[in-house]
């Protein structure tokens, strides 16, 4: 039967309904309706007239978790090597191994919690005041700085950034940079991540010496990218058993391309990737989504993206609102900044990050605490009736 207005049966139905509305009831006599089935469209006006049976009991509906199928798995990568293995670290971490998006614990548990690492620089640099207040006295002593991060603040790894090797900054030699790496390895016994200055030529030279100095420690090398001579850059990483961060900027196509090229030189479990993180208010929308897309693609079977993800949550401080003295109504920057970094870190974790680089001690400990809650049993205690609670503040 069609809904065509000219349809005689429909017309009949409509007029019957109108009558019904008018008189409450009508009686049909001597009527033969010769169709296979009769549909009478109930007019909207009528719907209101007919009494609706209101439920008196609560319906019983089961909630079934959604069926979701992910075919891919993120590769597991080990960072750091302990004594008895090949190195001298007091622990090592495994990251990756996920089979579902981050914190989908209703489906699968997270195989390894994300690693929280703190940033240390090889020279005194300008840092936000809220950060500086914790490290002021050690900013010219990177080994001490690293030690403080671990012993006082509980960093699980250290990211040593060799920015002074930049030819336009101090042009520190690869030998001197490697020497500092040795000192930091002595001072802080957690696994170490070593970063260059960003100069694609000089970094390769620096990594050669650093990889040699860190022989056996399974360092994380930050980072190799498409502007480098990849054959040369990866050689020392492979030779001395380290792990590379494959860095690309907000471009999944390039992330794939870089990984593809790296597969010529490195085993897959020696590659993790940084798709570039940006802080709240300064590009988070890109950094969050590129990481989320990378992880979903990996889980859906894209083998070129099945690597753990590292995120520089400390980039949060690039947003002016994180560090600027603002109108007092926006509160003290000593609180605003660490919260900024914590929320950036949390967002990146939800997108899929496995390894976080962080700057402020409070941000790191707060993020660790949230991860604990997110990986918790999933059964919250009873929520008291907040609508009637007396709240402070």
């Amino acid at each position: 039967m069609t809904n065509d207005k000219g349809d005689p049966v429909k017309k009949l139905g409509d007029s019957l309904m109108k009558k019904l509305l008018e008189y409450g009831e009508i009686e049909l006599e001597d009527v033969t309706i010769d169709v296979e089935e009769l549909e009478i469209g109930i007019l909207p006006t009528l719907r209101r007239v007919l009494p609706k049976v209101k439920p008196t009991e609560l319906a019983k509906v089961e909630f079934t978790p959604p069926k979701m199928e992910f075919v891919g798995k993120v590769i597991e990568v080990k960072l750091g090597a302990v004594a008895g293995d090949s190195g001298t670290r007091d622990r090592s971490h495994v990251i990756g191994g996920e089979t579902v998006p981050a914190f989908y614990t209703f489906k699968d548990p997270m195989p390894h919690p994300p690693v929280m690492a703190m940033d240390v620089f090889d020279m005194k640099i300008s840092l936000p005041r809220a950060v500086k207040s914790h490290f002021k006295d050690v900013m010219e002593d990177p080994p001490e700085w690293a030690k403080r991060c671990v012993e006082k603040y509980g960093a699980e790894m250290i990211n040593l950034h060799l920015i002074s090797t930049d030819p336009s900054i101090k042009n520190t030699s690869p030998q001197d940079a490697a020497k500092l790496v040795e000192e930091v390895l002595q001072a802080a016994k957690v696994p170490l991540c070593v970063g260059g200055s960003g100069d694609p030529v000089k970094d390769v030279e620096v990594f050669e010496k650093v990889a040699e100095a860190g022989e056996g420690e399974r360092l994380l090398i930050n980072s190799v990218n498409l502007d480098m001579d990849l054959e040369r850059a990866t050689k020392p990483i492979k030779e001395h058993g380290h792990v590379a961060i494959a860095f690309t900027q907000m471009d999944l196509g390039k992330a794939r391309e870089l990984n593809r090229r790296l597969y010529y030189y490195l085993p897959k479990d020696q590659i993790i990737m940084d798709t570039n993180c940006a802080g709240i208010g300064y590009g988070l929308e890109y950094g969050f989504t590129i990481a989320e897309r990378a992880r979903l693609a990996a889980l859906m079977g894209d083998q070129e993206l099945q690597h753990p993800i590292v995120s520089g949550a400390s980039n949060a401080w690039a947003a002016r609102e994180a560090w600027l003295e603002m109108d007092p109504s926006w509160g003290p920057r000593e609180l605003r900044g660490p919260l900024w970094e914590t929320m950036t870190a949390l967002s990146m974790l939800l997108a899929g990050a496995d390894y976080l680089m962080m700057l402020h001690p409070t941000s790191m400990s707060a993020t660790k605490e949230i991860v604990g809650y997110l990986l918790g049993s999933g059964t919250g205690k009873k929520i008291p009736d907040w609508t009637s609670a007396k709240l402070g503040g």
Partner: protein
């Protein structure tokens, strides 16, 4: 991913094809493209709303209707739309209606306290790359559980603001007292539970207000309530699976994830409603001072903004907790189809003359918007040279050799700015200071190193540029 785009041709077929431009675009095909990209609405096409196109309109409406229902509340002057989402992950299309944030007041507060909180919510505003970021609503809680007191508080609030309201009490009698004093107002009612659902359903039907459904840590209960309320005839629902600000956060995270997944990817009707989160529960944590409670509240809000919440109720009046959240919300609800970079080249800002400054920035979209926004706000007439930094931020571009003296020299030459000003001084960003020597060598221009943050450009130009030229 499960989201499948609708073909614009299919939509076009049902449009009136008048090419009347009343919707604001060139023709019906362009309007169809806008519709499938969720950039415009059917109601913007006047001919389509005529009676003769009613069937087409309804068909299009169904075709384009979001899996997460749109629920509205508010009053004639201010309305809030919750939900209306199509996708689970923002990159699949875009998110549509940003998470609304309400702060609370309660019926034990004196008038001065109520006024303070009303003014705070109304007044909070932050200008971020040209957008005014604000709070959206007030939640009135009944701490007294006394209908008269609640009614008085609701009346006072409604008399003093036109902010959309959420009336919060698990006691239907209390809510009704509040509702009875609101005219021409359609607040959101919070909330129906397993215990009070009948009374709440009656209120929601009688006053035609949307209703929140609260079933913490019990998704079966939430769905049972939802089904029952729909059967009752209450169809504007907002779901609250319980917000645990701390221990139990995984329960909240898992609940919102599963509900939104089922709505967007499995077409589950009972899950297809907006989600409401209550970071305010952080204030019920045992121990800790106000500052630490505000902190937990902020983090819980952030998680819920990242993960699908359409509405949040918060308590803290702290700028340091609200600012990152309203900017995070802006970021997450930005259309992800927006490119990362802007076109390199010369931009003319204000009315520059031949002695006006020439300033350099990168073509990372955010850097560009922030810098040009600061310059415009400071009313600085100048030429802004946007160099091609491969769409990455200035700091990274300098470190990674994406922005070099050579590329700056080329951009400067191509821009033709040399013919527009009679000086030869380029202001470069503070974060590119280390390139200053090289840029001088490569361009033959003098380099002036500007501030580290673009917010200081107006002051910098006023103090340094005028005296120099």
């Amino acid at each position: 991913m499960p989201w499948k785009a609708i073909s614009p041709i299919k939509v076009y077929g049902l449009l009136p094809k008048t090419n009347c431009k009343e919707c604001g675009v060139e023709n019906c095909m362009a309007f169809a493209v806008g519709l499938v990209n969720m950039e415009t609405r059917l109601e913007k096409c006047p001919p389509l709303l005529e009676e003769k196109y009613r069937k087409n309109y309804l068909e299009l409406k169904k075709m384009l209707s979001p899996p997460v229902k749109e629920v509205e509340f508010g009053n004639s002057s201010r309305k809030i739309t919750l939900g209306g989402e199509f996708v689970m992950y923002r990159h699949e299309l875009t998110y549509v209606n940003p998470t609304k944030i309400a702060l609370d007041v309660d019926d034990e507060m004196g008038e001065a306290e109520l006024m303070k909180r009303i003014k705070f919510v109304e007044g909070l505003s932050y200008n971020y790359i040209g957008a005014e970021l604000k709070l959206d609503a007030l939640a009135i809680r009944s701490v007294s559980n006394d209908p008269l007191k609640f009614k008085k508080a609701v009346k006072f609030v409604a008399d003093n603001t036109d902010l959309p309201l959420i009336l919060c009490s698990l006691n239907p009698r209390v809510l009704e007292a509040g509702l009875s004093t609101l005219e021409g107002n359609r607040p959101l009612l919070y909330a129906a539970t397993k215990e009070n659902w009948k009374g709440m359903a009656e209120l929601s039907s009688t006053y035609k207000c949307p209703l929140a459904v609260f079933s913490p840590n019990d998704l079966g209960g939430l769905m049972s309530l939802t089904k029952t309320l729909l059967d009752y005839g209450v169809s504007d629902l907002v779901l609250d699976p319980g917000t645990f600000a701390g221990e139990g956060l995984s329960s909240t995270s898992n609940a919102v994830t599963m509900i939104r997944w089922k709505a967007c990817n499995d077409g589950d009707k009972l899950s297809g409603f907006p989600l409401i989160g209550t970071p305010i529960t952080a204030w019920l944590r045992a121990g800790g001072n106000g500052q630490s409670k505000a902190w937990y509240e902020a983090i819980t809000a952030a998680m819920l903004i990242d993960k699908y919440a359409d509405m949040l109720i918060m308590h803290s009046l702290e700028g340091w907790t609200l600012l990152p959240n309203i900017i995070l919300r802006f970021n997450i609800y930005t259309d992800p189809r927006k490119p990362v970079s802007v076109k390199p080249g010369l931009r003319v800002i204000g009315n520059p003359g031949e002695t006006s400054p020439v300033m350099l920035t990168s073509n990372f979209a955010l850097t560009y918007y922030l810098v040009s926004g600061d310059i415009e706000a400071g009313k600085v007439d100048c030429y802004l040279l946007v160099a091609d930094s491969d769409g990455i931020s200035l700091e990274s571009a300098v470190a990674g050799r994406k922005l070099t003296a050579k590329s700056v020299a080329e951009a400067l030459k191509e821009s033709g700015v040399e013919g527009m000003v009679k000086h030869r001084t380029l202001v470069i960003p503070g974060k590119a200071a280390r390139l200053s020597g090289e840029i001088e060598d490569a361009t033959g221009w003098k380099v002036m190193v500007g501030p580290m943050d673009s917010s200081e450009i107006p002051k910098f130009i006023q103090e340094r540029w005028k005296s120099k030229i």
